[in-house]
C-alpha cells in the first residue's frame, strides 16, 4: 500500500512540476472565473460574439488571425447566411486569372480571416518596429492563457511607475514581460457599441475579447469537454465492473 501510494504521489508530483515551474516565473496572473472553465464549462457564445465584434472593429487593424477560417464562427452561433454576409465583407486575393493576374474577390466562409499586413516586415514598418502577434492561437501561446489576455488588456497604465522610463512609442503594461509594449491601451469605456446592447466597460470588453480568443484558439473546446464527460463516466462504470469481476475471480485464490 505504501509503495503504491508513494508511486501515485510521485507521479502526481512529477506532473505538478511543469505547472509549478511555469507559475513561478514572471508576474502573478490572477485567475478569472470563466463560463468555459471547469469540467462542464462551455464557451459563452454571446460574450464570444461581442469579442468578435471588438476583434473586427479594433484588433484586426493590426493583428492577423491567419489560421482561422471564417466559418469557424458557426461555433459561436453565426448562421450560414450571417457567415456568408460577413465573409463577403472581406476582400480576398485570388488568382492568377487567365491573364496571369492576381485579383481581389469577396470572401467566402471557407476563407481564412485576411491579414492586415502582407508580411511581418510590413507589419513592423507600420507599427514602430513592433510585430503585432497573430491571434489564432494567442490564448494557448501565453502562460496563463485567457487569464493572461484579460490581465494584459486591463493592465495598461497611462503613467509608468516612478523610475521607469519608457522608450519612445512604447506603453507601460503591468503584466507584459519587461512591461514595455508597443501596443497602446486600446480598450476604452464605450470604445465599441455592442450590437446586443451590453454596456461596454473596459472590464467587459477585455473579458469578451479573451473569451473570443479562447474560442478561436480551441474551436472544439465545447465538444472536447462534452466528450470527456461521457468518456470518463463510461470508464468509471467499466472500472467498477472490472473491479467487481476481479474481486469475484480472486476470492477463490486466497
Amino acid at each position: 500500500m505504501r509503495a503504491l501510494k508513494s508511486a501515485i504521489l510521485s507521479a502526481a508530483l512529477a506532473l505538478g512540476l511543469a505547472g509549478a515551474a511555469q507559475a513561478s516565473e514572471g508576474v502573478h496572473i490572477p485567475e478569472q472565473s470563466w463560463p468555459h472553465s471547469g469540467v462542464f464549462g462551455t464557451i459563452d457564445k454571446a460574450s464570444a460574439q461581442r469579442g468578435f465584434q471588438i476583434y473586427k472593429e479594433v484588433c484586426s487593424a493590426c493583428h492577423s488571425m491567419r489560421l482561422v477560417p471564417i466559418r469557424t464562427l458557426a461555433g459561436i452561433g453565426f448562421k450560414d447566411d450571417e457567415l456568408k454576409a460577413l465573409a463577403a465583407g472581406y476582400e480576398v486575393q485570388a488568382g492568377p486569372n487567365d491573364a496571369g493576374e492576381m485579383f481581389m474577390r469577396p470572401g467566402t466562409p471557407a476563407d481564412r480571416f485576411p491579414s492586415p499586413f502582407p508580411n511581418d516586415n510590413a507589419a513592423r514598418a507600420a507599427n514602430n518596429g513592433a510585430l503585432p502577434p497573430d491571434l489564432s492561437l494567442i490564448a494557448k501561446a501565453r502562460k496563463g492563457g485567457e487569464d493572461y489576455l484579460y490581465a494584459f488588456l486591463t493592465g495598461f497604465e497611462d503613467t509608468p511607475p516612478e523610475g521607469v522610463t519608457l522608450m519612445p512609442g512604447m506603453n507601460y503594461n503591468k503584466v507584459f514581460p519587461g512591461h514595455q509594449v508597443g501596443m497602446p491601451n486600446i480598450l476604452q469605456p464605450d470604445g465599441v457599441s455592442y450590437a446586443d446592447g451590453t454596456k461596454a466597460t473596459v472590464d467587459q470588453e477585455a473579458k469578451d475579447v479573451a473569451t473570443f480568443l479562447t474560442f478561436v484558439a480551441e474551436p472544439h473546446l465545447d465538444a472536447r469537454k462534452q466528450m470527456g464527460v461521457k468518456v470518463i463516466m463510461f470508464l468509471i462504470v467499466l472500472a467498477g465492473l472490472m473491479y467487481a469481476t476481479k474481486r469475484k475471480l480472486w476470492s477463490t485464490v486466497h
Binding site: 500500500m1 509503495a3 503504491l4 508513494s6 508511486a7 510521485s10 507521479a11 508530483l13 512529477a14 506532473l15 512540476l17 511543469a18 505547472g19 509549478a20 515551474a21 511555469q22 513561478s24 516565473e25 469540467v39 489560421l67 482561422v68 477560417p69 469557424t72 502577434p133 489564432s136 492561437l137 494557448k140 501561446a141 501565453r142 502562460k143 492563457g145 514581460p177 484558439a217 480551441e218 474551436p219 472544439h220 472536447r224 469537454k225 466528450m227 470527456g228 464527460v229 468518456v231 470518463i232 470508464l235 468509471i236 467499466l238 472500472a239 472490472m242 473491479y243 469481476t245 476481479k246 474481486r247 475471480l249 480472486w250 485464490v253 486466497h254
Partner: protein, 422 residues
C-alpha cells in the same frame, strides 16, 4: 513455463495452423497459462499499461502522419489544420501528445517498481537491460516527435539537444552537421526527424517483444522477490492477471482521459503554439517534463562535455545496475537500509526534475549539483557497499507461506495484497 501443457484446440482451422506453425500454442503458453506469482500487486500492471500506451501511440500516430506535412514552411499550419479541420483531429493529436507523457509515467513507475523489488537481479539482467534500451528508444522518439509541430520549443529544443553532440572533441561538429543535414536545424532536420519518429516506434515494438520474451524465460518477479516454488505459488495469467491488469488499465485511462479532455495543454509549453522562429530565442528553453531530471544533470556540470557525459552516464549506470547491486536479496521488503535509500533516490529524481525546470542559476543550480552527485553516489557507491554491509531480514520459505500464514483472509489480504479487500 514448467507446468504448461499442450492445449487442445477444437477449431479445425486453428488446429491445422497450429500443427504447422504453433503460434496458438505459443500464445496459450505465454498469455493464457503463463504462471504469475500470486502475490504481485498493482505496480505489476504498469508493464501492461506501458504496452497499451505504445499501441495507442502507434495507432494515433499513424493517422496523424497521414495529415501532417514535414516541411518547415507548412508543418506548424498542418498541425493546426489537424486541430481545426480534420474530423476529430483535435482528439487524435491530444491523445497522441498527452499519450507521450502517460507512456513515460507508466514506464517510470514500472522502472521504480523494478528498482524497489530488485527485478533487475539475476536471472533478469538482460530483461532489465532491454528495458533500459526501451527507455532510450522512447526518449529519442519523444524528442523527435516534439520537434514535428515546429513551434518555438520544437525548434529550440532541437537546437539545444542536437548541439550537445558538438561537445565531443574532433568528431563533435561533424556529428552535429550530419544530424542536422546542414548547418543549422532546418528543413532537412525536420524531414529526417519525421522519418525517424515514424521508424523508432517499430524498433520500440521489437524491443518490447524481446523484453517480454526475456520476461517469460525467467518469469515475473514479485513483491517478496523469491522464486515461486510450485503451482501453489502462482496463478495462470489468464484470467487472473488479465482481469487485474485490465482494471488497472481502465483506472489509468481515467487519468489519461482527464488530461486529454480537460487539461490537454497542461503538460505542454505555451511557446510551442508560436511558430518556430530562428531569430527569436525563448526566455527559457525547457524540455518536456519527462526529460527534466536528465536536463538538470546536464546543466549541473559546469563543463559542456562533462555535462553530456553525466547525462548519458545517468542512463548508463542503469545498464550496469544488475552488477552494481551486490545484494543477493531482491525485494526492498527485506532490505531495511536499502529501502530508506530507495526513497531518497525517488525524492532525488523528483528534486532533479524540479531543478531542471528552473533557470540554471543560484540556489537551483546548487540543488541540481547536489542531486546529481547523490544520483551517482547512490548507484556507484551506496549500492555496491550496501550489499556487503546490510543484514537483510529473513526471507520467507515460499510465496504462499506468508500469504496463508496467520490464518484468515483479512490477515492474508493485509499482508501481501493490500489492494484486494479494500
Amino acid at each position: 513455463m514448467a507446468q504448461a501443457h499442450a492445449p487442445q484446440f477444437k477449431n479445425p482451422v486453428v488446429k491445422w495452423i497450429d500443427s504447422r506453425l504453433p503460434i496458438f500454442t505459443m500464445l496459450d503458453h505465454e498469455y493464457n497459462q503463463y504462471p504469475m506469482p500470486r502475490n504481485v500487486n498493482y505496480l505489476w500492471a504498469f508493464g501492461a499499461i506501458a504496452g497499451i500506451m505504445l499501441v495507442v501511440m502507434i495507432a494515433t500516430g499513424l493517422v496523424l502522419a497521414m495529415q501532417y506535412a514535414a516541411n518547415t514552411h507548412i508543418a506548424f499550419d498542418s498541425v493546426e489544420r489537424i486541430m481545426r479541420d480534420v474530423n476529430y483531429g483535435w482528439l487524435l493529436r491530444y491523445v497522441h501528445a498527452n499519450g507521450a507523457s502517460m507512456f513515460f509515467i507508466a514506464v517510470y513507475i514500472h522502472m521504480f517498481r523494478g528498482l524497489y523489488y530488485g527485478s533487475y537481479k539475476a536471472p533478469r539482467e538482460i530483461l532489465w537491460i532491454l528495458g533500459v534500451l526501451i527507455l532510450l528508444a522512447m526518449m529519442a522518439t519523444a524528442f523527435m516527435g516534439y520537434v514535428l509541430p515546429w513551434g518555438q520549443m520544437s525548434f529550440w529544443g532541437a537546437t539545444v539537444i542536437t548541439n550537445l553532440f558538438s561537445a565531443f572533441p574532433i568528431v563533435g561538429d561533424p556529428i552535429v552537421t550530419w544530424l542536422w543535414g546542414g548547418f543549422s536545424v532546418d528543413n532537412p532536420t525536420l524531414n529526417r526527424f519525421f522519418a525517424l519518429h515514424f521508424l523508432l516506434p517499430f524498433v520500440l515494438f521489437a524491443l518490447v517483444i524481446l523484453h517480454t520474451a526475456a520476461l517469460h524465460v525467467s518469469g515475473s518477479n514479485n513483491p517478496l522477490g523469491i522464486d515461486p516454488k510450485g503451482p501453489q505459488d502462482t496463478v495462470p495469467f489468464n484470467p487472473y492477471v488479465t482481469v487485474k491488469d485490465g482494471f488497472a488499465v481502465v483506472v489509468f485511462l481515467i487519468v489519461y482521459a482527464a488530461f486529454v479532455f480537460f487539461a490537454p495543454n497542461y503538460l505542454g509549453h505555451p511557446d510551442n503554439y508560436i511558430p518556430a522562429n530562428p531569430l527569436v530565442t525563448p526566455a527559457h528553453i525547457v524540455p518536456e517534463w519527462y526529460f527534466l531530471p536528465f536536463y538538470a544533470i546536464l546543466r549541473a556540470i559546469p563543463d559542456k562535455l562533462g555535462g553530456v557525459l553525466a547525462m548519458f552516464g545517468a542512463i548508463a549506470v542503469l545498464v550496469i545496475l544488475p552488477w552494481l547491486d551486490t545484494s543477493k536479496v531482491r525485494s526492498c521488503k527485506f532490505r531495511p537500509i536499502y529501502r530508506q535509500f530507495f526513497w531518497i533516490l525517488a525524492v532525488d529524481a523528483l528534486v532533479l526534475g524540479y531543478a531542471g525546470a528552473m533557470p540554471a542559476e543560484g540556489v537551483w543550480l546548487m540543488i541540481a549539483r547536489i542531486g546529481t552527485a547523490y544520483y551517482f553516489f547512490h548507484f556507484l557507491v551506496l549500492l555496491p557497499l550496501l550489499g556487503k554491509l546490510e543484514r537483510p531480514l529473513p526471507l520467507p520459505a515460499s510465496i504462499c507461506e506468508p500469504v496463508l500464514k496467520g490464518g484468515g483472509r483479512v490477515a492474508a489480504g493485509a499482508h501481501a495484497k493490500p489492494m484486494e479487500k479494500a
